[in-house]
């Protein structure tokens, strides 16, 4: 399984650390620079979280950026199914993480890129793997 030929999801923290160009998470910005090589879906929950961090004019610029690659970057407007949220809550996810996990499952996404430790260290049995930005970059390098 490699991220250069499948749809993946970038968690909100990847977008935000990337746009902040966070010095202690440099891989996030580097990953955003590689968006033209990836297939990225943005779940509804991530879409709701971004305006909580970005101002309206920054959101406009963000959308303009995404529209440069309409075949590679897609937004999903589907809310999570309650049964799936319950399932992921039972695995130990907090409500918000359970919503994200459910939306990934609904979109049949097999890879989430996230810097959120709750996802990549603590929850077992998720129907997708969780990569940190640095690991995702390594997969892109391997593919090239």
């Amino acid at each position: 399984m490699n991220i250069d030929n499948q749809w993946i999801v970038l968690d909100t923290n990847i977008w935000i650390f990337g746009l902040r160009n966070q010095p202690d998470h440099p891989a996030c910005y580097q990953l955003l620079q590689c968006l033209n090589k990836l297939y990225v879906k943005t779940p509804y929950q991530v879409f709701l979280e971004l305006p909580a961090n970005l101002h309206p004019d920054e959101m406009k610029r963000f959308f303009r950026l995404l529209h440069l690659y309409p075949n590679r970057i897609e937004l999903s407007w589907k809310k999570a199914e309650l049964a799936l949220i319950k399932k992921h809550r039972n695995l130990g996810c907090k409500l918000g993480d359970a919503v994200i996990a459910s939306q990934l499952e609904m979109m049949n996404i097999k890879t989430l890129v996230s810097e959120n430790r709750d996802f990549y260290e603590e929850i077992m049995g998720l129907p997708f793997r969780v990569l940190r930005a640095e690991e995702a970059l390594r997969e892109i390098d391997i593919a090239e």
Partner: protein, 94 residues
């Protein structure tokens, strides 16, 4: 006389035996030009993407700096993101 008219005139004046080879060559040139066009527009798009990403990042950082939030530690930012996630989810799925 246009370029196409000149080319048609030249092609029509060729001995018939040479015609298939010349037409193959013309087709080859057309395909080559098309490929060059495609890869050029892809490169322009990539360049535009990198410039817009950089500009958005700079604008966002400038705003955060003005608000005194640029120097926040990653853990602090992450904690805020997690709280936002919980608040939005609680609001959407209560």
């Amino acid at each position: 006389m246009t370029y196409q008219e000149a080319l048609t005139y030249e092609i029509n004046s060729l001995p018939p035996v040479l015609l298939p080879e010349v037409l193959d060559f013309v087709l080859f040139l057309k395909i080559k030009a098309r490929i060059t066009d495609d890869s050029l527009s892809e490169k322009i798009r990539e360049l535009q993407f990198q410039q817009e990403l950089q500009a958005l990042s700079q604008a966002y950082r400038a705003r955060l700096s003005k608000e005194g939030k640029l120097e926040q530690k990653a853990e602090e930012v992450m904690a805020t993101l997690k709280q936002t996630r919980e608040d939005i989810a609680a609001n959407e799925y209560r």
